[in-house]
């Protein structure tokens, strides 16, 4: 696969009030790769994702500087922030089944975008539920509430919803935190399938998960990049930075 930059982050800084949590980081994400981000808690991983789709705007008193470019377009100068968010699928740590029917959960984003014809929505719903490996379990009860599903099912529903607006980038924020290992493995299989279609950013606190899935991994610590490298290097015996080795081996973190 030709190496092509999809997302380009340059000197990104983020402060909540006077407290700076991201201290000027720069990195690239390549088109079609799974880009892992690992790091202990409080290392601004989630904040980074929220800068990417600009939901950080909803938090009062935040200051962002530097630039994030997706396909060369700066996210902070984009014409429509809603169109930007539709380019990015976002999956939160805890599954959020909206209190709507399963069908409406998945059809929500296309509807918000302005697609209302049922004939166009039905295939999208089916495709996304299939991609998220949930279709077979729910195809007979699409009209029951999304919130009534089990945790693991809700997380797959969340993924289906994130796919429903055909994003170019899929961000997963510690998706396995609230679900059992079997479901986790199943979603990991889903991600391996999806990488053919889109770029995936995988934020995780399970280093082994990044090792299993990611092409390249970034180790973020307290708002600074410690190291970016291919999986072989980061998880190998000789990463460039001693701290990476210690963290991956579980010596600190």
């Amino acid at each position: 696969m030709a190496v092509e930059t999809h997302i380009e982050v340059t000197d990104l800084r983020l402060a909540y009030g006077h407290r700076e949590v991201i201290h000027g980081i720069s990195f690239d994400v390549r088109r079609g790769e799974i880009f892992g981000i690992i790091g202990p808690a409080q290392s601004a991983k989630t904040s980074l994702l929220r800068c990417l789709n600009r939901t950080i705007d909803f938090t009062p008193d935040t200051h962002v500087s530097g630039s994030i470019k997706i396909d060369g377009q700066d996210v902070r100068k984009t014409g429509s922030v809603y169109a930007l968010r539709r380019k990015i699928g976002m999956v939160a740590p805890l599954p959020v089944g909206l209190p709507l029917t399963i069908y409406d959960n998945v059809a929500f984003a296309p509807r918000c975008a302005g697609l209302t014809r049922r004939s166009a929505l039905a295939p999208i719903v089916e495709r996304c539920l299939r991609q998220a490996a949930l279709w077979d379990e729910v195809k007979d009860r699409l009209n029951s509430l999304g919130t009534r599903l089990s945790g693991g099912q809700q997380q797959r529903l969340t993924i289906a919803r994130a796919l429903s607006h055909q994003p170019e980038v899929l961000c997963l924020d510690e998706f396995s935190i609230a679900i059992d290992p079997v479901t986790t493995m199943r979603i990991e299989d889903v991600l391996k399938e999806l990488r053919r279609e889109m770029t995936i950013i995988l934020v995780t606190n399970l280093t082994q998960q990044a090792r299993r899935l990611a092409d390249r991994t970034m180790f973020l610590w307290n708002g600074d990049i410690v190291e970016i490298g291919t999986t072989d290097v980061i998880f190998g015996d000789r990463p460039k930075d001693r701290r990476t080795y210690d963290y991956v081996q579980g010596i600190f973190g």
Partner: protein
């Protein structure tokens, strides 16, 4: 200690004294709670007993007769219904939208703190000051005169904080993660509110509207100088006796008039009027409460 080991945990006199103290405190506080509930029940019971000779369907449907010393309360009841629904039609939309603004749109800055303070103080303004405002603003400045419109608008502004507060509470009970999930897939603020927040808050909002009905029905001072009148001749059982630009009778005002201004009223009539007013207000409130309790049992998440 010389006691056997199993006696180590028996109560010493000091502990027994403390426990007695605790039991006593419990009963004293219970007494204090009971002291506000019991007399009230007694009083309401007393009112009901005194009202009994007059209470009948006829009392509700009939008009006051012989200089308001006999007869029923129909015109006052209809007037109250007019005032309540007209004021509701004004304040419910404004209040609900204001609550949506405060809970969903407002950022935490000085301007919105001022708005919050304004809502709080609007709730604290004495009802008689609302009456003065209604008189100055609607009766004279807006030239609505003494009319149902003036009275209903005054009531509407007075009850606005009730609906703002309860709607905000209902909106705030919808978890923020739902909104974020909507924003993440590119929904605008309003789309998120429309699709997820409002459907789940609607029952709480409805409860607020019902409470507002009960509040508006009981108020006297704000309508006394803006549109309520002592007496108005009305046909028995007439459903539409008033035009909006004329004055009307109201139940609360009627009770005040009967008990302080009219000599020689039949003993049980003011009591019966009080019971009808009290009964309808408490009924409406009980409806709101049971709606809330019922809805709490069937949350969607």
């Amino acid at each position: 200690m010389t006691d056997a080991p199993e006696n180590n945990f028996t109560a010493t006199p000091l502990i027994r004294k403390r426990l007695r103290q605790e039991t006593m405190a419990k009963w004293i506080f219970f007494g204090m709670a009971a002291a506000m509930v019991v007399p009230l029940l007694l009083i309401i019971g007393y009112l009901a007993v005194r009202a009994a000779p007059s209470l009948s369907l006829e009392f509700i449907l009939d008009v006051p007769r012989r200089g308001m010393t006999a007869g029923g309360i129909w015109p006052a009841l209809v007037g109250t219904i007019y005032l309540v629904f007209l004021s509701l039609a004004v304040s419910a939309p404004i209040g609900i939208l204001a609550a949506i603004y405060l809970n969903e749109y407002a950022r935490d800055n000085w301007f919105n703190r001022v708005i919050n303070l304004a809502v709080l103080n609007l709730a604290g303004v004495p009802s008689i000051v609302h009456a003065l405002f209604g008189l100055g603003a609607f009766v004279y400045a807006a030239r609505f005169g003494y009319s149902i419109i003036s009275a209903a608008l005054t009531l509407a502004i007075m009850t606005l904080p009730v609906i703002i507060a309860s709607t905000r509470e209902a909106l705030a009970s919808v978890p923020p993660s739902f909104r974020e999930a909507c924003w993440n897939v590119g929904a605008t603020r309003w789309q998120a509110i429309r699709a997820v927040v409002l459907p789940n808050a609607i029952s709480g909002i409805l409860t607020g509207v019902i409470l507002q009905v009960s509040r508006a029905a009981g108020e006297t001072a704000p309508i006394m100088f803006t549109g309520a009148v002592f007496f108005k001749a009305v046909e028995r059982g007439d459903l539409f006796p008033y035009y909006l630009d004329e004055q009307c009778m109201a139940l609360s005002m009627h009770l005040y008039t009967l008990s302080t201004q009219v000599p020689g009223v039949m003993e049980s009539i003011p009591y019966a009027t009080a019971i009808v007013l009290l009964g309808s207000v408490l009924l409406v409130n009980a409806m709101a409460i049971s709606l809330r309790v019922y809805l709490r049992t069937r949350k969607k998440w």
